[in-house]
């Protein structure tokens, strides 16, 4: 379910690093919690992002979810599909519905994040909390 070569943050973002560029999205757990996505707000290309800071939002009908960047850097690309078809986030959150590509200033920041199996456990614990 959660690709082994991605890393994951506590705020349910995934990040795939390739050298100093990272692709970023929200996880399947996040999209499920949100429900049908209706709108995505992303920063402009060239904007600076900081680790731990909000850089955009994903909206459903009744909720707004902030997206936090797990790394510091500059926005290199934003996904052109999401303004016309935000539902891609529900359909393919780990693939076609990536949000941004970031040129990282410190690629080592990625290693501090959870790997796939740690994230899997984290999500399982959260799910238990919600139904308690």
């Amino acid at each position: 379910m959660y690709p082994a070569d991605y890393r994951y943050s506590k705020d349910h973002e995934w990040i795939k690093a390739e050298g100093s560029t990272a692709t970023l999205g929200i996880t399947d757990y996040a999209q499920e919690q949100l429900g049908d996505v209706v709108f995505v707000e992303l920063p402009k290309v060239g904007a600076a992002v900081k680790a731990g800071a909000v850089f955009g939002t994903v909206e459903s009908v009744k909720a707004v979810s902030e997206i936090f960047s797990p790394v510091t850097g500059e926005v290199a690309e934003t996904n052109p599909l999401l303004s016309a078809t935000p539902e891609k986030i529900n359909q393919d959150p780990h693939g076609a519905a990536w949000l941004v590509k970031i040129r990282m200033t410190d690629p080592k920041e990625v290693s501090g994040l959870m790997d796939a199996s740690a994230y899997q456990q984290y999500v399982a614990a959260k799910a238990k909390e919600n139904t308690a």
Binding site: D36, V38, F39, E59, S60, V61, K62, P86, E87
Partner: protein
């Protein structure tokens, strides 16, 4: 719609409060339009006619309003009458919406608001020919001061949210006068969304305070939160759980000893009018929602009015102008208010709404206490008759509203939204779902004093029946409502690709 009648899907004996009736289909008015029809004719012109293009010049003139409908008077009557039959309304039955106080809107209020000599008056008229209007404002002011136990009042704010902003701006100006407006406003996590939104406009940062495990303000830790940076606490009392903050005197004292002020959101005043006065229990400034406690009609979303009452020390900061009575007994507007926060709205407020609120208050007089008692009686009666079937997250005394949760029904896959939608099939408007935020799966119920015992019993029976359905036939609850003109509407499509106007 499904070809089966509602009755075969749901056995007839389970629906006791509602039956379907025929309602006509209706297009948009633009779709009924045809060139040459008109709905209103004008008296003839008694001065020479002019041509707009000549008078204004071609650069400023317009020769058409494309797309404007052309329909006859009968079509307008039928169109809007048919539309109205698709609505629920207080005149039809209960709206148990928590903190909305959907009480009866007295019809005499509509009559007096329309009187020639009141509806016709221009707000810029000299005071000499506006004594009637000014006296109405002044008389209402006196009533609101007495009801809230306060000493200063403005009727200018157009709604509760504007009242909140006004109160916060007054607090800011007062603190500024003392040298430091401070930076933060404390807001409980159970607060209505307008509270933080208003605080931001007043230039304050929000600090959310978590409610304690009883759903009340965490008074034990309040001292830690009230630093020198805190200008005020915005409190709703009774809370959005319908529970009175018993330690209110302590809360006020803690704030005051640190130079901070206590703002009260008066949305739940229906639990207090005639019984207790916020001015007596330490509130410095508050707003009232006249479209809640004071019966002015909601009209599908507004208008409202949000007067603010306050202690004397805040009087200089009231929005200008204020309404006052001169020594000779006449009434006037006072524009000479150097410390005023300024204007929050043009003119003196939603006069027509203020007028209706005064008519309501005059109808009751001191007997307004009875309305409050009946409101609290109804809420507790409903609570007592449902607390065996629905989860009560906080077992504290309810005042005018009670908050259940869907915890028990969730075990069968039925949530508060489903239950609310199923209530529609029983002839009731849903209660408030998804609020307050501190109760997951909230069912917030406020009957108001306008409901008879019979109506309360019908409501109780409906919810008891739905609780049973949640166990025996959850599908029927999860796919409700079944008896409305349209089923659940696709809100996702509406938000993804918004269509916000008709186009030919």
């Amino acid at each position: 719609m499904d070809s089966k009648s509602v009755e075969t899907v749901i056995p007839a004996e389970t629906i006791r409060a509602a039956r379907r009736h025929v309602s006509r289909n209706e297009n948009l008015i633009f779709e009924e339009s045809a060139p040459g029809k008109r709905g209103m004719e004008l008296p003839p012109l008694d001065v020479p006619a002019v041509d707009p293009a000549d008078s204004l010049g071609d650069a400023f003139a317009r020769d058409d309003v494309p797309g404007f409908p052309e329909v006859s008077e009968i079509e307008v009557i039928r169109h809007f009458t048919r539309l109205s039959t698709w609505n629920y309304a207080i005149d039809l039955g209960m709206y148990p919406l928590g903190s909305c106080t959907m009480k009866y809107n007295p019809r005499v209020n509509e009559f007096v608001a329309r009187l020639e000599g009141l509806a016709t008056e221009h707000p810029l008229q000299p005071a000499a020919v506006s004594q009637g209007c000014l006296r109405i404002l002044h008389d209402l002011q006196k009533c609101l001061l007495e009801i809230t136990g306060m000493e200063a009042v403005t009727l200018q704010p157009a709604a509760g949210a504007q009242g909140e902003l006004t109160g916060l701006l007054m607090i800011r100006s007062f603190l500024q006068d003392r040298g430091n407006p401070r930076k933060k406003v404390l807001i409980p996590d159970s607060a209505h969304g307008t509270n933080p939104a208003s605080a931001v406009i007043a230039g304050y940062e929000i600090q959310n305070i978590k409610s304690n495990d009883r759903g009340q303000l965490d008074t034990d830790h309040l001292r830690e939160f009230v630093t020198q940076d805190v200008a005020a606490l915005m409190l709703t009392n009774p809370s959005t759980l319908g529970v009175f903050e018993e330690r209110i005197a302590e809360i006020a004292a803690i704030l005051h000893e640190r130079g901070a002020l206590l703002y009260m959101d008066g949305a739940n005043m229906n639990a207090l009018a005639g019984v207790a006065r916020p001015g007596d229990f330490g509130v410095d400034v508050m707003h009232l929602n006249l479209h809640k406690t004071f019966s002015t009609p909601h009209g599908g979303g507004g208008p409202g009015a949000g007067p603010v009452t306050a202690k004397k020390f805040l009087e200089p900061y009231l929005p200008a102008p204020t309404v006052f009575q001169k020594e000779d007994g006449t009434y006037a507007l006072d524009h000479n208010r150097p410390k005023s926060i300024g204007r929050v709205r043009a003119w003196s407020g939603n006069f027509g709404v203020l007028l209706r609120a005064l008519a309501y208050t005059l109808a009751y007089g001191p007997g307004i206490r009875q309305a409050t008692e009946d409101a609290v009686l109804n809420a507790n009666y409903i609570r007592k008759n449902l607390d065996d079937l629905f989860d009560l997250p906080y077992d504290l005394p309810s005042m005018h509203e009670v908050v259940f949760s869907d915890a028990r029904q969730k075990k069968h896959g039925v949530n508060t939204m489903d239950i609310a939608k199923r209530l529609i099939d029983y002839g009731f408007h849903p209660y408030t779902t998804a609020f307050p935020l501190i109760v997951p799966g909230a069912m917030m119920i406020e009957p108001t004093e306008s409901e008879s015992k019979q109506e309360c019993d019908l409501f109780i029976q409906a919810l008891r029946s739905i609780a049973a359905e949640a166990e025996s036939n959850p599908e029927i609850v999860k796919t409700a409502p079944h008896s409305t003109r349209v089923g659940r509407l696709d809100e996702v499509a509406a938000a993804r690709k918004p269509v916000l106007r008709w186009r030919p």
